[in-house]
């Protein structure tokens, strides 16, 4: 295991016998899965944790944000981030859960420019609201699209054509 992972685990207090260091929101280290350190945290602590990972541990490359829909669970959406430390050549995965009624997490646009576009995509697909992102216009969908297609309750066959279908017409009767 990469030494940087030990340092993160120690810093975020997963193995602290006397509990969390003061002022740090709870972060749970779920261990290393397939070479990626997995951290689970509350939405409130997201921005501060990522800022610390970026500034103290060199996680300078924002790879990815997406969500996983777990219908029926009280905290329905799991927002998943992947970050990379280019100097240490390791990745970390952050997971945070939000309820369907209030799917809000803080935007990371203040830390990484790359977060802007990807948060737009996640907003399109799952309806996660990234508080602080000034531009959540649709990016892969179009303006006026109703619903969030990657939610499990969005039917796969549903169509919302921008241009109404023309009735079938024979090429001979023109």
């Amino acid at each position: 295991m990469a030494p940087i992972f030990d340092a993160i685990q120690a810093a975020f207090g997963a193995s602290h016998p006397d509990g969390q260091p003061a002022g740090t929101p709870p972060v749970h280290c779920l261990g290393v899965s397939h070479g990626v350190l997995v951290l689970a945290l509350e939405p409130d602590g997201l921005y501060a944790t990522v800022q610390r990972l970026r500034d103290d541990f060199g996680f300078d490359l924002f790879l990815d944000v997406t969500a996983v829909d777990w219908p029926g669970q009280p905290l329905r959406f799991e927002v998943v981030y992947h970050l990379m430390a280019t100097s240490h050549k390791v990745r970390v995965r952050l997971k945070t859960r939000v309820p369907e009624a209030e799917p809000i997490v803080d935007s990371l646009i203040g830390l990484y420019g790359a977060a802007g576009y990807q948060e737009r995509e996640c907003h399109d697909m799952y309806g996660i609201v990234f508080r602080g992102n000034p531009d959540l216009r649709p990016i892969l969908l179009y303006e006026g699209f109703v619903g969030h297609p990657l939610r499990k309750d969005y039917p796969k066959q549903q169509e919302q054509p921008l241009v109404p279908y023309r009735p079938p017409q024979s090429a001979l009767v023109r």
């Binding site: 490359l61 576009y117 995509e121 649709p138 179009y142």
Partner: protein
């Protein structure tokens, strides 16, 4: 036979730009989504002061076809043709990255021959992808001869890959646990002929453009981006390397057989269009160098692992014994059972870090497949290269980013 005009109200532009003209003497223009210079469907809304670009709003999504939604409705095997259509210039890299992710989640180690073959074919795909990108970029500057040289050799590669996989562009050649088939007789002999042709044609292109005054004037110090800014905006692959950062997943986190190969990571000086052109040209040479090593190292042996969870049984057995018939039936109808869990696997795609984040609930159908596609991330940061430049330079800079609609819009 009267052609009656169907008059319909015009469809409004679905994109509202984030800005209006900031001064009286500037104008906001719309470029694309269907424009010869965007090769693909992407829309650039630019505020212009004369011919100078003040700011841009890049909008993609016109090729969105619900890839990730579709994945959640098919078995792990049936996705392989879909992942081909992400980056259709180097479909095999997508194939292998996806298969690698599923295999790692299942705990499968592929056979040595497959490992080397996948590495070889991934480099072959990278070669074809870079050839396409450089050729398109040169053509947009009017260099038709260089374009035709590069596309000639690329077409030989497509035909050669068709001899291996049966398709020119969308190969569907990877399998969970191996490959669709072994290489046919004489394939490596022909490969060496094509690599020689590649060297011949690329030498001519080097001679035509490298020291060409027109080319340098259009490319040098145009679309510049610094390393810190490139990382901030999520750039990876040749664009990040063109800024001077030797970041390459093949070296940083070696996968497949890359740990055993000798190769260099070419980097640029200024992070401009010329560097992106040259980094791609040098990377192609490194790919050829790696492929020659791989041909020499290529071991014999099976290409599929012996694992009944994902590999189809021999057809003769399916017809003669009930266990294999059931095995075959369950693999087709229910799909291979992938243990519950999630994994992020990234390969060095031709454009940058191609990552697959897959979530399984222990069924034959994925719970979620998410693609970290380099082109989409690059579209989020490309305005940093376009702003402040000339209107005509949007074309060349955009060409050097190599946006592939299939993987950008998914």
């Amino acid at each position: 036979m009267s052609a009656e005009l169907i008059s319909r109200p015009p469809i409004p532009n679905p994109v509202h730009p984030v800005f209006t003209p900031s001064r009286d003497d500037t104008v906001v223009v719309n470029i694309g989504p269907s424009h010869p210079a965007t090769h693909g469907t992407v829309q650039v809304i630019a505020e212009l002061d004369g011919e100078k670009v003040l700011r841009t709003d890049v909008h993609c999504g016109y090729l969105h076809r619900g890839f990730e939604k579709e994945c959640e409705d098919h078995t792990w095997h049936n996705l392989i043709p879909y992942v081909d259509r992400l980056n259709y210039c180097s479909a095999l890299i997508n194939n292998f990255a996806y298969c690698d992710a599923v295999e790692q989640l299942m705990g499968i180690t592929i056979t040595p021959r497959t490992r080397y073959l996948r590495t070889l074919l991934a480099e072959y795909s990278r070669l074809a992808d870079h050839l396409t990108c450089v050729a398109a970029q040169l053509m947009e500057l009017g260099a038709m001869t260089a374009f035709l040289y590069l596309v000639t050799v690329r077409d030989q590669m497509y035909e050669h890959l068709a001899a291996l996989t049966g398709a020119r562009v969308t190969y569907s050649y990877g399998r969970i646990g191996g490959l669709a088939a072994d290489v046919p007789d004489g394939w490596f002999t022909r490969l060496e002929v094509i690599l020689k042709a590649y060297e011949d044609y690329v030498a001519r292109v080097h001679g035509l453009v490298d020291r060409n005054r027109i080319f340098i004037d259009r490319m040098r110090h145009v679309g510049t981006i610094s390393t810190a800014e490139a990382i901030h905006w999520g750039f990876t692959g040749p664009i990040l390397r063109s800024t001077g950062a030797p970041r390459d997943l093949r070296k940083d986190t070696p996968y497949l057989a890359y740990g055993e190969l000798d190769f260099e990571v070419p980097v640029g000086l200024y992070g401009d269009n010329y560097d992106r052109y040259y980094v791609r040209m040098r990377e192609m040479d490194e790919s050829v160098y790696m492929m020659r090593q791989l041909i020499a190292l290529m071991p014999d042996g099976p290409i599929m692992v012996d694992d009944r969870r994902c590999v189809f049984p021999d057809k003769a057995l399916v017809y003669t014994e009930i266990e294999s018939l059931i095995n075959h039936f369950k693999l087709v109808m229910e799909g291979p059972v992938v243990p519950a869990g999630d994994i992020y696997v990234a390969h060095e795609g031709a454009n940058g870090e191609l990552g697959f984040y897959i979530v399984s609930t222990g069924e034959g159908v994925p719970h979620k497949v998410h693609v970290r596609s380099p082109s989409f991330v690059h579209m989020g940061g490309v305005h940093r290269m376009l702003d402040g430049g000339q209107l005509a330079d949007i074309v060349t800079t955009f060409g050097s980013v190599n946006m592939i609609g299939g993987e950008c819009d998914r």
